[in-house]
């Protein structure tokens, strides 16, 4: 599934998502305010380690997407002989590790609900219920579009010796637009937004 939520249940899963998100925002502010972001590394590392070795290992693995970025920034700053690179990279690693901690220990529904709560001040612009529905629809449309692409590839392969490649982009987009139209009708048929 499309989620980073860790299947390893820890005490941190039971802390409300709102608390974790607020703490994360505070940490980010600190990270950018201080010229010595590495001072924040020990508490964040301790937090992750306190959830057990298996969880910590998973956290480490989830940092993998950062590797190319870190390498590039490191090489670039080495070439420039600019020590700022160290600050940049530590800040990024700590920030991303903390962000992952929040997503790994919070359930999708709970995070949606928290975002809904935080968005309450905007309720004159968008009703919290509508926002929650929009978030849910988006999360659903992502695999649906991929499934559409698969179905279209399958139908293509059933009639063609060649793989479709990029040619599926337009049919998939059109099919997805039709899906959105049908979803709108299905929503209306069961009471709609109101």
């Amino acid at each position: 599934m499309l989620t980073l939520t860790s299947p390893i249940e820890t005490y941190a899963h039971r802390i409300p998502a709102s608390v974790k998100m607020a703490a994360f925002v505070a940490l980010t502010v600190l990270l950018f305010a201080t010229p010595q972001p590495w001072l924040l590394a020990p508490p964040v590392a301790a937090l992750i380690l306190s959830c057990g070795p298996k969880f910590a290992l998973q956290s480490l693995k989830n940092l993998r997407p950062l590797i190319p970025l870190i390498l590039i920034l490191a090489l670039w700053h080495l070439w420039l002989r600019d020590p700022l690179g160290i600050t940049l990279i530590t800040r990024m690693i700590i920030g991303v590790a903390a962000a992952n901690f929040v997503t790994m220990t919070s359930k999708l529904t709970e995070m949606t609900r928290t975002v809904e709560t935080f968005a309450r001040p905007f309720s004159p612009i968008i009703a919290p219920k509508t926002l929650a529905l929009a978030i849910g629809l988006t999360i659903r449309f992502i695999p649906t579009m991929l499934m559409r692409a698969e179905q279209i590839t399958e139908s293509w392969r059933a009639r063609s010796p060649k793989r479709p490649g990029w040619r599926i982009f337009l049919p998939t987009t059109l099919a997805a637009l039709d899906d959105a139209t049908h979803t709108a009708e299905a929503l209306r048929a069961r009471g709609g937004l109101g």
Binding site: R140, H182, T183, E185, A186, L187, R188, R190
Partner: protein, 241 residues
């Protein structure tokens, strides 16, 4: 003042993409069991969407118990719709969420909706469906799920677009029995005359117009005779644009 009960169409027409699909329909539908039959492309699904307020009439008017069908909120307890293609109806990734959504929309609490869903599924001996992913169900299973989700909401009128197509025989037999026992008004759309033989009233839709309207006996007889005649020909020699 009494508001008119049932579904009324007054000179209702629908034009889509510059093509006239339904023309000048005048109908008052009040019978408890109504069948609408017609060929592919005759406008059955368009008529359903018009009645359900999913598309507005290009001209003329539609009312349901005196209300405008585009007022979905007022209509929710009055009208339920089974779509012809289950993929066009299913909104949620799991069976339980799909079933619960309608009840939540009707104002039930999350707990009440969940309980109703569990009860329904166990009644259907399909408790193991609750957590099943809707997109992995077979086509017939998805179709049946859509039906269950409408029946669960207990609307006063249920519009069914080809409710039996794609269902296997035991499910068809059970469904027919179950539908027959419902106190609600049912409007069944189909191309299969057998499916509406027990209705109080059958309408035959042909190229967007009512070709016949009355008790099932004579209407279906005329329909079946015409269909057999057309089937003998090698192609539709006179299809309009």
């Amino acid at each position: 003042m009494t508001t008119p009960q049932g579904i009324t169409l007054t000179n209702a027409s629908v034009t889509l993409g510059g093509k006239s699909i339904l023309s000048n329909l005048c109908l008052t539908l009040t019978e408890p069991r109504i069948g609408i039959i017609g060929r592919n492309g005759s406008g059955k699904t368009t008529l359903l969407r018009l009645i359900a307020g999913l598309i507005p009439p290009t001209s003329g008017a539609v009312t349901i118990d005196g209300l405008n069908p585009t007022d979905r909120k007022a209509l929710l307890p009055r009208l339920g719709i089974l779509f012809q293609n289950p993929d066009h109806q299913i909104l949620f990734p799991t069976v339980a969420e799909e079933l619960a959504f309608g009840l939540r929309q009707q104002g039930q609490t999350e707990a009440a909706a969940a309980a109703a869903v569990t009860h329904l599924l166990s009644q259907e001996s399909r408790a193991h469906w609750a957590k099943a992913l809707t997109h992995t169900l077979s086509q017939g299973q998805r179709h049946y799920l859509c039906l269950l989700s409408i029946l669960l909401m207990q609307p006063e009128t249920i519009l069914l677009d080809e409710p039996f197509a794609g269902l296997d025989l035991p499910t068809q037999i059970r469904l027919a029995r179950r539908l027959a026992a419902l106190p609600q008004r049912l409007i069944t759309i189909t191309h299969d005359p057998e499916a509406v033989a027990l209705c109080d009233r059958v309408l035959w839709l042909d190229q967007g117009q009512i070709r016949a309207d009355g008790p099932p006996g004579p209407t279906l007889q005329a329909f079946t005779a015409e269909m057999a005649k057309l089937g003998e020909q090698d192609a539709d020699t006179h299809l309009p644009d």
